[in-house]
């Protein structure tokens, strides 16, 4: 297998030169190539939830000693596309008394930022769409916008359960964003860069010639940061055990109770893409990105690591019970946040000690 990223990059460069040769200005060629790259990336990302939903169903079924979807296609492989098709053709209902504009905007605000977040993520060699200097900060900033979408969904549905779900969701996401961002600060300190590609490349070295110098292997600091990031990411994606915004037993379905058809599908999609994004970030920041033994290309390694983290997400779902809402906040502010701060101090001390 080859380095798909580098091949793609070369292909795009070649196409751009060809366009210029055909009489386009370099600027137009650049725009065209960027549009192409973006389209490709977004299509790939859009396909990811299909696999994730299938994987989630299968894995959770195995964890509960069931078989999961079996009837549609071989091993139930076509179940998810079928469900997607069904969602496509469902009627789009706007509840009476709801604000239709906000009802619609909520979907856009919740789902659109996710795709933007992928721009600086390096999926392997040659991959990041734009080599953004503020990389990780950009991702956090843009993913913060989704909070607005959840609030708007809660408000725009004219439904008490939605409203409660929206408020809970916003409170939870705003709170957990802080330990999530702070858990990454040690990484940024160590590699003195916010750029995701720089961070990934900096981890492609070895300790004593064999031990991968991934961030998670820094004793103490790396593991604490990774666990903090993982917990906060699970909370950010509103998944069990942090799924009180949509807790079925309390709030029907939380903020997307009143959504149907494609609008609902987009909330659903956004959640799974967020899972993928968080796992990809975890792989980039803590697990060395595309680093790995040479017999596989970097994008395969990256996918494997991301898959491993995604598996953790699915595993959590069937392992932990749901937290009560006050416990959830207490956990964030009284445990995760101080721990993240202590971790930053430790990291700073480590660096000072190394450089002194």
């Amino acid at each position: 297998m080859a380095e798909v990223g580098i091949i793609l990059r070369q292909g795009v460069d070649f196409a751009r030169q060809w366009l210029v040769g055909m009489g386009a200005t370099p600027f137009q060629a650049l725009v065209a190539s960027k549009v192409f790259e973006t389209t490709v990336t977004i299509s790939v990302i859009l396909a990811i939830p299909l696999f994730l939903v299938y994987a989630e169903r299968k894995i959770s079924a195995f964890m509960q000693a069931r078989l999961g979807p079996m009837h549609t296609g071989p091993w139930g492989l076509l179940q998810t596309p079928a469900d997607t098709l069904k969602l496509f053709f469902k009627e789009d209902i706007v509840p009476q008394g709801a604000d239709p504009l906000i009802h619609l905007m909520a979907v856009v605000l919740a789902a659109a930022p996710v795709f933007v977040c992928f721009a600086p993520v390096p999926f392997g060699r040659g991959f990041p769409l734009i080599n953004l200097d503020t990389g990780i900060l950009f991702v956090f900033a843009v993913s913060g916008i989704s909070t607005l979408g959840i609030l708007a969904a809660g408000w725009g549905s004219a439904n008490k359960f939605s409203m409660l779900g929206g408020i809970r969701g916003a409170a939870q996401m705003v709170s957990y964003e802080i330990p999530r961002a702070l858990s990454v600060v040690p990484v940024v300190l160590f590699y003195s860069s916010l750029n995701l590609q720089t961070i990934a490349c900096a981890q492609m070295v070895r300790w004593h010639g064999w031990m991968p110098k991934w961030f998670i292997f820094y004793p103490g600091i790396g593991q604490i940061a990774f666990i903090l990031f993982l917990i906060a990411s699970v909370a950010e994606t509103n998944r069990i055990p942090f799924d009180i915004p949509e807790a079925e037993s309390e709030l029907v379905s939380g903020y997307h109770t009143e959504y149907s058809g494609m609008k609902f599908a987009f909330f659903f999609l956004a959640e799974y893409v967020y899972v993928f994004l968080s796992s990809a970030l975890a792989a980039t920041l803590f697990l060395g990105g595309g680093d790995g033994a040479a017999f596989l290309p970097s994008w395969v390694w990256f996918t494997l690591k991301t898959g491993a983290v995604i598996f953790l997400f699915l595993w959590f779902r069937w392992t932990f019970p749901r937290l009560r809402v006050d416990r959830l906040m207490q956990f964030c502010w009284q445990f995760l946040l101080p721990l993240a701060l202590v971790n930053i101090v430790l990291a700073a001390a480590w660096i000072t000690w190394k450089t002194a």
């Binding site: 503020t134 900060l137 900033a141 916008i145 609030l151 408020i167």
Partner: protein
């Protein structure tokens, strides 16, 4: 017209429309959403002017933080009557005149003061240099701001408490 100028006009127009929406709409929730979008557009303008770190900070703090808070409060104090009543007070005409006056005076000033005419390309990435600046020459203002934040935290707690301390 370069690409940057085009983007600038686009973003600027969008910004003005959105902010007009903020001050005119009767539905506060819509107004708040428009404001958040306007702040996002502002982040785009920052990028255009070479402030990549600032743009991310703007999104993170304003859109992800302050606006969520404002939406929260809107949801907290929502009364249907609030949205049907006229949203301007009795003096909206003088206010309009004054607003126009402010704009006119500013623009007048900008045209009387000599301005550099050249346009510049977006600068190099700023995060590292900005970090050095904030912890170096701007250390004291930085610390003062942290004090202000602490005071705001305590103040918000005191005002927001249901019962007296």
């Amino acid at each position: 017209m370069t690409l940057e100028t085009g983007i600038f006009y686009g973003l600027g127009g969008l910004l003005l429309i959105l902010s007009l929406l903020v001050v005119t709409t009767r539905n506060l929730f819509r107004g708040a959403l428009a404001l958040s979008t306007a702040l996002g557009v502002m982040a785009g303008l920052f990028v255009l002017l070479g402030g990549d770190f600032l743009a991310a900070g703007q999104l993170l703090i304003y859109v992800g933080g302050v606006m969520v808070l404002i939406l929260f409060v809107v949801m907290f104090v929502q009364t249907p009557a609030l949205f049907r009543a006229p949203q301007t007070n009795r003096r909206w005409i003088p206010a309009l005149v004054l607003g126009a006056g402010v704009a006119a005076v500013f623009i007048h000033i900008f045209y009387t003061v000599p301005m550099p005419e050249e346009t510049l390309a977006p600068a190099a990435p700023t995060s590292a240099a900005l970090g050095k600046l904030l912890l170096g020459d701007m250390a004291v203002p930085f610390e003062v701001v942290s004090l202000i934040l602490l005071a705001a935290l305590v103040g918000a707690l005191v005002f927001g408490l249901e019962r007296e301390l």
